[in-house]
């Protein structure tokens, strides 16, 4: 029988209701997750999945976030205040000329392939950075002239020149210690000496780690921790609400935070990070070689309005590549204040006005959101901006990061003390400034006061030269079940230390 018009009207209303329900539920977690259930299991929701598990050949902050400090350990590490403290090295001494470091290593550490950790593994790991690593971060090891095992528990590292930066870099991924017989399948089966063992990687969904019961140090509380990855910010929040995960490792929908702050079941943690959200310029392009273009773009952006609009006002305006937790931080937001008239005249003078710039964005919530504000604000200053979204990490890393095929992009640089790494001619920013390199060299080789002084100068130089535009500093926003303990207030290292978590 043919349905009547009134029947169709009822059907329409039912469809509309269904659509509304779909809209409400579509954001809920779609991936089939392991339900934590037992007290000894924990599931953490994160936003960017690694492209590979091998940070020796693949860039991206997601790999060390998951593996460093958990599967891999370093000789030294940073504590919560940023101070360098022992890890696999019990102690160390520095020669008077500041070129020779002697480390005393722990004697009871074992890799998860049952091999003992010795000074030979440390020598192998340090040398391997220079010979087998392919990422740009390997440059931090260039200063090492020789690494030598004095005994199974004593390592001597000689530098070509004094370097303030080198020991700090040893707390990051380039300081990771590998077993000589455990590097054959780094991309899929990492072997380390850390408190957790890599268990499995369900691509597109999760990484599972289990407690390393043979760990030489204090054993973690949780027997199993699952890192679950969500592309959608609301799905991430919904996963916590529905019990699929226990922790939102990084809130990507800050506007929706109120649903947790008003609920006694959850704790909300708000601190700071190293994540400078950078509007990067391809400084190798003729248009961006003109400082007036770069300064014009910086002055066309109302950063306060941008932060309020795209990240609910959470985060901090910084004005350069240094977060407030670094000793050389200065508030440089006043260097290029929002001034639309001046921005227009600078862009006119440089010939950029009316030109179309490609803003190639990774598919990350903050980038998608801030990109729309940046486009709108730059267009008011006379530029044309074409937004192009690239799937993160694979497409963005290949197109923007590796091939520098972009005009502008937006990405958070979460590596600690990354000013020199980000702004150099070999990095995707293609920023070549001898003056800046001079400050960085002086900071690296000088004493502590000279380091602070020169890095302040470097940060100011970057800001004045508008090598990029620092939209804001990401806040450390976490939400978790009230019972979860040990979550960090600040996220100032490139790893997420899972060993401190407990219930």
């Amino acid at each position: 029988m043919k349905p009547s018009f009134s029947t169709r009207a009822v059907a329409f209303l039912a469809s509309a209701a269904l659509l509304a329900v779909t809209a409400c539920s579509a954001g809920s977690g779609t991936s089939s997750g392991s339900s934590p259930g037992a007290d000894q299991k924990l599931s953490i929701g994160l936003v960017a999945e690694p492209a590979s598990l091998d940070f020796t050949t693949t860039d991206g902050a997601a790999i060390p976030q998951a593996l460093l400090g958990n599967v891999y350990e370093t000789l030294v590490k940073q504590d919560d205040s940023g101070k360098i403290v022992p890890s696999l090295a019990k102690s160390w001494t520095v020669s008077p000329d500041r070129k020779t470091y002697t480390f005393d290593l722990v004697d009871n550490a074992k890799f998860t392939n049952d091999k003992q950790f010795t000074a030979n593994d440390a020598v192998f790991s340090i040398n391997r950075v220079k010979t087998a690593w392919t990422t740009s971060l390997k440059a931090a090891m260039d200063v090492v002239s020789q690494a030598k095992a004095l005994s199974p528990t004593q390592l001597q590292v000689t530098l070509t020149k004094p370097s303030n930066d080198w020991l700090f870099r040893m707390t990051t991924r380039i300081g990771a210690m590998f077993s000589e017989s455990g590097v054959s399948a780094l991309a899929t089966a990492p072997v380390g000496s850390g408190p957790f063992k890599f268990s499995k990687w369900n691509r597109g969904d999760s990484i599972v780690m289990v407690r390393n019961d043979n760990y030489w140090g204090s054993k973690p509380f949780f027997q199993q921790i699952t890192l679950k990855y969500f592309k959608d910010a609301t799905a991430l929040n919904n996963a916590l609400l529905t019990g699929t995960i226990n922790v939102v490792g990084t809130v990507q929908a800050p506007e929706a935070l109120s649903q947790f702050t008003s609920n006694d079941k959850y704790q909300v943690i708000e601190g700071t990070t190293n994540g400078e959200v950078l509007l990067s310029f391809n400084n190798s392009l003729p248009l961006f070689k003109d400082v007036r273009t770069r300064q014009g773009i910086r002055m066309a952006i109302d950063h306060k309005a941008l932060l309020d609009t795209c990240w609910a006002g959470r985060g901090k305006l910084i004005g350069s590549m240094v977060p407030p937790t670094d000793p050389w931080y200065e508030d440089l937001t006043g260097v290029a204040p929002y001034d639309l008239a001046k921005a227009k005249s600078l862009l006119q003078a440089s010939g950029a006005a009316g030109k179309t710039l490609r803003l190639r964005l990774p598919t990350l919530p903050y980038a998608t959101s801030c990109g729309q504000v940046v486009k709108s604000q730059l267009e008011q200053a006379g530029l044309k901006v074409a937004i192009d979204q690239l799937e993160f990490p694979a497409a963005w890393l290949t197109t923007v990061f590796k091939n520098a095929d972009y005009d502008m992009s937006i990405i958070a640089h979460v590596e600690p003390r990354d000013l020199g790494a980000v702004f150099n001619p070999k990095y995707y920013t293609r920023y070549d400034d001898p003056t800046l390199q001079g400050y960085l060299a002086a900071a690296d080789s000088g004493d502590e006061a000279a380091q602070v002084d020169n890095l302040k100068k470097a940060a100011r130089r970057l800001s004045e030269q508008a090598a990029g535009d620092w939209l804001f500093l990401l806040p450390n926003l976490m939400v978790a079940d009230k019972s979860v303990k040990g979550l960090p207030t600040n996220a100032i290292t490139e790893n997420f230390d899972l060993s401190k978590l407990a219930r």
Binding site: S15, A20, A23, G27, L306, G371
Partner: protein, 272 residues
């Protein structure tokens, strides 16, 4: 004279309003639909912003008006792709001998078994998310329904006396298809186009919602829904207005399709 039925009138009116809204948006919208205005973010509906504003301070009514262009554009191109491929395939399957026809229809069944959204997501992942990718994927996914419907209509036409007479007179298959079969399946094409249009509108909204459709900041009803997720509890209107727009558009094209079918299908004549 045939009496107009309520479905046809209601569907026609709704579709006309959407088309008019899209045309008007080329020359006028209350505000610039993509202009970010932090001072006006998340405003409640008022006389100055009838549907309120979103988190970027953009006027929702203006976005819905401009979004209707995306909806219609996707629908037209997707249905065009489906018709251009599906209609000749359907006619060919009706006119050729048994086994080539079987090959065409089984290949058709194979494509039909593939979920349209999955196909579109696959296209988006391979070629990059864009309106063009979405349109082509939705169009290809709609080919089987065109081919199947047109084949059944063409088979009936092939059995008519004037076609038999043309074949007896030695007319070649191509002129028969062009002069006799195609004009007699036009009503079927129109009805199928209308129904497929509704499906395309819904598919584009779903793809944009999932991030595989129209990229920001081009207004799209599906992406408006996606961006409203954060505010479902604090500002549900951000989801309600584009949701209603999608529902009405789908209803309009479905009613239009039903109405056209009722009008063109002689078998339904005695039921009216």
């Amino acid at each position: 004279m045939k009496r107009l039925n309520p479905s046809l009138i209601a569907g026609g009116v709704i579709v006309a309003v959407i088309v008019l809204m899209a045309l008007v948006s080329f020359v006028w919208t209350p505000y610039d639909a993509t202009l970010v205005s932090p001072a006006s973010r998340l405003l409640e509906p008022s006389w100055s912003h009838w549907f309120g504003t979103d988190k970027f301070g953009r006027d929702i009514l203006s976005q819905i008006m401009v979004g209707s262009r995306t909806t219609l554009f996707v629908g037209v191109v997707a249905v065009g792709v489906a018709a251009v491929i599906g209609v000749p395939l359907g006619i060919l399957a009706a006119m050729v001998r048994r086994w080539p026809s079987e090959v065409i229809m089984r290949a058709n069944d194979l494509l039909l078994a593939f979920p349209a959204l999955l196909l579109a997501i696959m296209f988006g992942a391979v070629f990059g998310a864009s309106t063009l990718t979405a349109m082509i994927a939705i169009g290809i996914a709609s080919v089987p329904s065109f081919a199947r419907v047109i084949r059944s209509g063409a088979l009936q036409v092939m059995r008519t006396e004037y076609v038999l007479a043309a074949r007896a007179a030695g007319r070649q298959p191509f002129p028969i298809a062009l002069r006799h079969v195609l004009p007699n399946v036009t009503s079927l094409i129109t009805v199928q186009a209308s129904v497929s249009f509704a499906i395309a509108v819904l598919a584009e909204a779903a793809l944009s919602f999932l991030g595989y459709g129209t990229p920001p900041p081009t207004p799209s009803w599906g992406r408006m829904l996606q961006e409203s997720q954060e505010f479902l509890f604090s500002a549900p209107r951000l989801a309600i207005f584009p949701g209603i727009a999608i529902a009405i558009a789908v209803l309009g094209f479905n009613l239009l399709g039903d109405g056209l079918r009722d009008r063109f299908d002689p078998k339904l004549e005695d039921r009216r």
